[in-house]
């Protein structure tokens, strides 16, 4: 290896590892990005509208204007990620050309392809993808995702779906780990998950997802973040939870502190006090409203 190598799996997955224990915040402009950086975010996620607004306003949700994302990149020194639509490899190409640090192929935006996800191995830029269960997570990793996050249910301020997805993934991984020497079982699972046996074996051997796994989709309070961390998340994505709260700055700081000290109730108590109104949130009535049911293939 005399020559420089770029875009390797090690570099992509390594970038995700540097985010561990941190909070990644959704932002729609440079001012919000600066506030997030000041509050201690490890990275920001650029998007056109936060999920709560996408729900409220309807219409087609697409990649944010690259001019705005570019301005966010100039405004902060922490990494900048940006969302593209599921299967929309041209949006991903635009984001790579712009030089964002990671692309989120996200169910929060309106899917562009209902059959296929982006072939992420073709890109130099690393990708993060959402998943509801181990099968979805391993398929995304096989496609080249360097990081996984629970889908949860974006823009609801309701943590219940993120909890469900983390629990499902944990129990499916425990199942693999218990059967790590049972090749027939692992072969059956590889078939069920539609991924190579080798990836299933690796997961069984490690007893965890082979890439960094964050929690996302409905996290609105410091205690929500601590809950997800205790369930085994490597870090936290907060979408609407910060800038839809009464006092975004307070919430941002408190969620960063809670993620760091997720297992210390006395610190959680201190940071949870007097934050003001959290985002209101919404209970979904039907499956049609669920963003998590996008891109499950």
């Amino acid at each position: 290896m005399v020559k420089k190598m770029i875009g390797t799996t090690r570099l992509k997955e390594g970038f995700a590892k540097m985010q561990k224990g941190g909070v990644i915040m959704d932002v729609v402009n440079p001012q919000q990005a600066k506030l997030a950086e000041k509050a201690g975010a490890v990275a920001v996620m650029s998007l056109h509208r936060v999920p709560a607004d996408i729900r409220a306003e309807g219409g087609i949700a697409r990649m944010a204007d690259p001019l705005v994302t570019g301005k966010i990149m100039e405004a902060v020194t922490i990494p900048v990620m940006a969302k593209c639509r599921i299967g929309h490899f041209a949006e991903a190409q635009v984001l790579e050309a712009l030089g964002v640090d990671m692309v989120d192929e996200s169910e929060v935006l309106t899917p562009a392809d209902e059959e296929n996800h982006i072939d992420k191995k073709k890109f130099t830029v690393p990708f993060v993808c959402g998943a509801r269960n181990l099968g979805e997570a391993l398929r995304r990793i096989h496609e080249g995702a360097a990081m996984i996050r629970t889908k949860g249910e974006p823009g609801t301020g309701n943590v219940v779906e993120a909890v469900r997805h983390m629990n499902v993934m944990n129990s499916e991984i425990r199942d693999l780990a218990r059967n790590k020497h049972n090749n027939t079982f692992l072969e059956r699972k590889a078939h069920e998950y539609r991924v190579p046996l080798q990836l299933v074996q690796k997961t069984a051997e490690m007893g965890r997802l082979p890439v960094v796994n964050f929690a996302a989709g409905g996290i609105a309070t410091p205690a929500d973040a601590a809950l997800m961390m205790q369930l085994g998340a490597d870090g936290i994505f907060v979408g609407s939870g910060i800038f839809k709260a009464g006092n975004p700055e307070k919430f941002a700081r408190a969620i960063v502190e809670a993620t760091r000290n997720y297992d210390k109730p006395e610190i959680l108590l201190r940071v949870s006090k007097g934050l003001g109104e959290p985002m209101k949130g919404t209970l979904l009535e039907s499956d049609r409203e669920k963003m998590q049911l996008r891109g499950t293939g």
Binding site: M1, V2, K3, K4, M5, I6, G7, T8, R10, L11, G14, F15, K17, M18, Q19, K20, G21, G22, E37, G40, A41, V42, A43, M73, T77, I78, P79, E96, G99, V100, D101, M102, T124, V125, P126, V256, E257, R260, N261
Partner: protein, 182 residues
């Protein structure tokens, strides 16, 4: 702290030692050497300050306690920062006679791997991720590896710093080198 903590702990364990994850002041009393991991340096420096670790780590470093900084850790160990460090109001530990620059090689798209000689360690696999680098060494600091116009590994008695991430490879030589400082 935040970042690639478990990866370092894994290497330390592999070398037959027991790693401790330092998050608060009390944790510093239980250790014989400290590794400041890669992660977001802006975030890590805030956490170091917030949790009141700053003064104690600085005093420990000044009195000969072994400290190894990778990537973000290299920034925190430095005496002099760059414009970005100033802009974000980042507080440095100021232990090593180095001047550093953040994101010396560019953003994640420009992150790279390459084999370099690090001191006496030949062909070490170096993983650079949005890496900082040392633009100048002075005083007692000794460069260990160079790439392009930058110093990417350096030591100063009990202190060791690398721009790259040895914890992301199977090669444990840099960690072994550091542990010898105890």
């Amino acid at each position: 702290m935040q970042g690639a903590v478990s990866e370092h702990m894994h290497v330390v364990e592999k070398l037959g030692h027991s790693p401790v994850w330092v998050r608060n002041k009390g944790d510093l009393e239980a250790i014989r050497a400290l590794i400041i991991p890669g992660g977001e340096s802006t975030t890590i420096s805030k956490l170091v300050e917030l949790n009141d670790l700053y003064g104690q780590i600085r005093r420990m470093g000044q009195s000969g306690f072994p400290i190894f900084g990778t990537c973000a850790g290299l920034i925190l160990l430095a005496k002099k920062g760059d414009g970005e460090v100033k802009r974000t109001g980042q507080k440095l530990l100021g232990l090593m006679d180095t001047q550093i620059t953040r994101n010396a090689f560019g953003r994640q798209r420009e992150s790279f791997e390459i084999e370099l000689d690090v001191g006496k360690m030949k062909n070490f696999p170096c993983v650079f991720i949005r890496a900082p680098a040392i633009t100048k060494t002075f005083g007692k600091c000794k460069p260990l590896a160079k790439f392009e116009k930058f110093v990417v590994a350096a030591e100063q008695g009990n202190l060791l710093a690398t721009s790259f991430h040895p914890e992301l490879t199977e090669d444990t030589r840099v960690h072994e080198y550091f542990i010898e400082k105890i």
